[in-house]
Amino acid sequence: MTETALVTGASRGIGLETVRRFLHNSENITTIVMFARASEDFDAAVEELRASSPVGRKIVTRAVDVGDRDALHEALESVHAEVGNIDHLVNNAGYTNPVPLQQAEIEDFEKTMSVNVYAPFLIVKWLLNHGNTFKLIVNIASTAGINGRSGWLTYSASKAAVINMSQVMREELAIYGTRVVCLSPGRTATALRRTLAPEEDPTTIMQPEHVARVIETFTSPVGRFIDSENIVVRQ
C-alpha cells in the first residue's frame, strides 16, 4: 500500500523527527510532504533526509508560512495536484511569543491563532472541500492547552482551541472513517520550548524524537487501537 503524509512545521523539532520516522520506519507511507517556512534549517534537513532516504520513498517540500492564508492555499493546491490524496496529516507547526497579558499585542495573538489554530483548520477544510479522504489527522496541541500558564496567554488559549477543535473534527469526520488524534506533549526540547522556557536545560526533558515515535505509532496498524480525544505525552 502506498500512502501519503503531510507534516507541517517539518524543518525541525517534532515535525522533522516525525518525517524521519515516517521515512525510515513506516510500512505504508511512501510519499512525505513537508511544509515549513523557508530557512537554512529546512534546506539542510531536506538535503539530509533525501541523502538517507530508502529507495522508493518520495519527499515533496513546500517552503510556506502556514500562517499566511494565501500562501497556504497556494501550497495546498500545488501539492494536491502533485501527490493527490493526503492520507495522514500531522498539524505540527506552532508559534509562540510568551508575554504577560498586559504586554500581549492583539496582532501577536492573531498571529498565534493563525499558525496554531487557523492553519490546521484551513488545511483540513481545503482538502476536504477538494475531495480528500484522510485516514488520520494528528493535531499537535500542548499540555499548556489543558491548563493555562501564567505568561503564556496567547499560546495556552490557542492550544486549548486546538484540543477543542480536534474533538469536533473527530466527531464530524467519523462519517469518512477518519481518525482524529489530538496529541498534547509536555515539555519537549524544541525551539518553541526554548522560547517558552529559555532557562531550561533541554537535555533534561523529553526529546522531539520521543513524540515522533508516538505519532508514528498512530499511523501503524496498531495505531487504530489507540483512541482518545487528547493524548498527553510527557516525561
Partner: protein
C-alpha cells in the same frame, strides 16, 4: 452500473422544523450528507439523481460542493408526493438499473448498497422482520377484524433496487389504476413483477420525529462506531 434516486424532497412537518428535514443537522451535519457520502463510495453507483424541495436548490448545491461529492449528481425539483417524485426522477436516470434511497435514512451504510447490488435478482428491497404484532382493524368502529401472520410480514426499508423498465412500467400501471403508493417495492410487486427482499439493518431507520433525530445522533457517535 446503477443510477441512485435519492429522495430528499420531504418537508419536515413531523419533525417540527421550518426547513426541509434533510437539511436539518444531525450531529451538526446536514442529514442529507450521511447517505450521500456512503453512496459516493459505492463503485457501481455512477449517477445520483437527487431531488430538492422547491426553493432549496442552492442550499443543496452548496452541500454537494462543500462535501466534494464525486459521483455526478442530477438535481430534480421534488413532486407533490413521494410517488410523484420517483416518477419525475426516473426519466433522469441514465442507467438501466436504479437504486432508490431516501436522505431521511442517514444510518445507511455503503455495505447496505453493496449487498443490494450483489443480489442476483433485479428488483430487491432491504427489509427487516417485525418484532411486534400488526392487527388489521376497522378505524371507524375500532373493531379488530382478524389477524396477520407475523412471519409473513416485513418492515420495508430503503435502499431498494429495480430494473428501470420494471419500475417505470409499474408506475405507469399504478397511475392508470389511480393508485398511490408510499414506497416502490409493493408498487412493483402489485403490478405483477417479481420483487425480492434481503435482510436490512435495524439501525437503518427513517428519521421522522425529534426522538428519531436524537436516536440517530446517539448511534452516529464515533464511540458507537468503534464498538461495532
Amino acid at each position: 452500473m446503477y443510477s441512485l434516486i435519492l429522495l430528499n424532497g420531504g418537508i419536515g412537518a413531523r419533525i417540527g422544523a421550518n426547513q426541509p428535514k434533510q437539511l436539518l443537522k444531525l450531529r451538526g451535519i446536514p442529514i442529507l450528507v450521511y447517505a450521500l457520502i456512503q453512496a459516493d463510495r459505492v463503485e457501481k453507483i455512477s449517477q445520483i439523481v437527487l431531488n430538492y424541495p422547491a426553493g432549496w436548490k442552492e442550499a443543496v448545491e452548496e452541500v454537494l460542493a462543500d462535501y466534494a461529492i464525486a459521483t455526478p449528481v442530477t438535481l430534480v425539483e421534488a413532486g407533490d408526493s413521494r410517488h410523484a417524485s420517483v416518477a419525475a426522477m426516473l426519466p433522469h436516470c441514465s442507467e438501466d438499473d436504479v437504486i432508490i434511497h431516501e436522505a431521511a435514512r442517514p444510518l445507511v451504510s455503503r455495505r447496505n448498497f453493496e449487498d443490494l447490488i450483489e443480489d442476483e435478482h433485479a428488483n430487491v428491497s432491504l427489509m427487516t422482520p417485525i418484532s411486534f404484532t400488526v392487527a388489521p382493524v376497522d378505524p371507524e368502529t375500532r373493531e379488530v377484524t382478524g389477524s396477520l401472520e407475523r412471519d409473513r410480514l416485513r418492515n420495508v426499508q430503503l435502499p431498494q433496487k429495480f430494473s428501470k423498465a420494471d419500475l417505470a412500467a409499474s408506475h405507469e400501471q399504478a397511475k392508470q389504476d389511480g393508485k398511490v403508493y408510499t414506497e416502490d417495492a409493493t408498487l412493483v410487486a402489485d403490478s405483477g413483477r417479481p420483487v425480492y427482499f434481503i435482510e436490512g439493518s435495524d439501525v437503518n431507520f427513517k428519521v421522522t420525529t425529534p426522538t428519531d433525530l436524537r436516536m440517530a445522533g446517539f448511534l452516529l457517535r464515533p464511540e458507537e462506531e468503534d464498538d461495532d
